[in-house]
């Protein structure tokens, strides 16, 4: 048993539901109408493109093609994080990429390998959707964590350099800021885990149920994916900050404002 197919005509008709929020926006003059229409158009085109591409990827199910797809997704995430945090891509692209690879690959390979016991670690059916979910959460957590970290160091410049003057090495001086940044980045996932199933049914579980799997199997998948997401975000945030520290500070340990796009 699989999910009932949605015909193109039926889906097109379903867009009519958007008339309600758009009418509300017009009525109350909420100034995001054009952004909303653009976002709906982008969502449609992006998902159609990904759908077409994934059909090919799933048909081929070649480990090299699957790996290339993951690397491409990580590259896009890398760019998004640098842009979202105002970091200069030329300096931060490699450390951010390394952190994303570790944060995505470790939980993903443990998921497909020891947990699902798939003979092919790069099986498209598992690697692409699960990798995408982990990576999406790593992206969000990295943006929160890295922004929080560099903003806090910049705002507490006097306290930070005072710690250096007291003999702290760079890794010692950044420790309190690293701790606070990790907390900020991980709290949303912790909050989600604490309320999951009570407030909303998660997307993956819903998808697995719609696919015809029994709810208990769907729940086991969801528990595993939450552990993977939490572990992946923790790995990527800690690594992203630790690996970028050398690029974001001068050799004397002071925050290097030239590392940021808003620098003069």
């Amino acid at each position: 048993m699989g999910a009932v197919n949605i015909g193109p005509g039926a889906l097109a008709a379903y867009y009519a539901l958007l008339i309600f929020p758009l009418t509300v926006m017009v009525w109350f003059r909420i100034p995001i109408i054009s952004r909303t229409i653009t976002a709906v158009a982008r969502m449609t085109l992006q998902l159609l493109f990904v759908g077409l591409y994934l059909q090919v990827v799933f048909k081929l199910n070649n480990p090299w093609v699957n790996s290339l797809w993951l690397i491409l997704m990580i590259g896009v995430a890398d760019f998004s994080i640098a842009r979202g945090c105002g970091l200069r891509l030329t300096r931060f692209a490699i450390p951010l990429f390394g952190a994303l690879v570790a944060g995505t690959a470790i939980p993903l390979l443990l998921f497909v390998g020891p947990l699902l016991q798939r003979p092919d670690l790069m099986d498209a059916q598992y690697v692409i959707p699960i990798g995408g979910m982990i990576l999406g959460n790593c992206l969000r957590a990295d943006i929160i964590g890295i922004r929080n970290f560099y903003d806090a160091v910049q705002k507490s410049d006097k306290a930070f350099v005072h710690a250096l003057s007291q003999g702290a090495r760079l890794q010692e001086a950044v420790r309190p800021y690293l701790r606070d940044a990790c907390q900020a980045a991980l709290l949303p996932t912790v909050a989600t885990m604490a309320t999951i199933g009570l407030v909303a049914l998660p997307g993956m579980m819903t998808g697995v149920i719609l696919g015809g799997t029994d709810p208990m199997t769907a729940i086991r998948y969801q528990i595993a994916i939450m552990i993977a997401i939490f572990s992946g975000t923790a790995i990527t945030v800690i690594l992203a900050i630790l690996l970028t520290v050398r690029k974001g500070f001068t050799p004397y340990g002071v925050l290097d404002l030239q590392a940021f796009k808003s620098a003069p």
């Binding site: 507490s156 006097k158 306290a159 350099v161 005072h162 710690a163 250096l164 003057s165 007291q166 003999g167 702290a168 090495r169 010692e172 309190p176 001068t250 050799p251 004397y252 340990g253 002071v254 003069p264």
Partner: protein, 228 residues
Amino acid sequence: MKPSTDFGADGPGGWGGNRASVPSIEIKNITVRFEGKMILEDFSLHVNSGEKVVLTGESGLGKSTVLRSVLGFVIPVEGSIFINGQPLSPETVWRLRTFLAYVPQEPNLGSGPLREWLERPFTYRANSGLRKNLDRIPELFDRFLLSMDLLEKEVSTLSGGEKQRVALVSAILLDRKIFLLDEPTSALDDSNRDRMMDYLRSIPDRAVLAVSHDPALLALADRVVRLS
């Protein structure tokens, strides 16, 4: 405006102290620019071991920049800085900072209880052997008229004068050879200023480079350097 140095104005008080052949601080012809603006140009200064030197002059002439340069927080575009005869560089700065004690003008102590703040530097590897110095907290609090009750207080709630004295206590606990003091008496009342002067007189073996406009501090200096 181009800062210049005047090396002839020895203070009348004179803290005295031992003089060694290698200066504690030697600044050679440094030029500092920030966002295209000249902050210091071809500036030189030396502070001998045990010597107390006060930098004075109008605001905006780069006095605090001199202290920040010695700490490696500001990097001169030209010139060099030596601490205890060793050049300040990315490789040496981490070790050389362990010779320095810095008391900023308006210390930002961050957050958390004061006791935790005072103990934090001793968690750094460079200071791990100095932890026994924390036993001196009661003596130093008494000396600088600080209540022991402050230890449990949140550091951000301390007054400006309390923060300055606490920063000095922390510097003393770290047992450094060179003190860098940025307007150390600016938030102190007369009695607290007298206590600080008494302390500075009691350390003839420590070099001090201070930035100040305080006549009392200028009068007690071995040498006053006036930036103009």
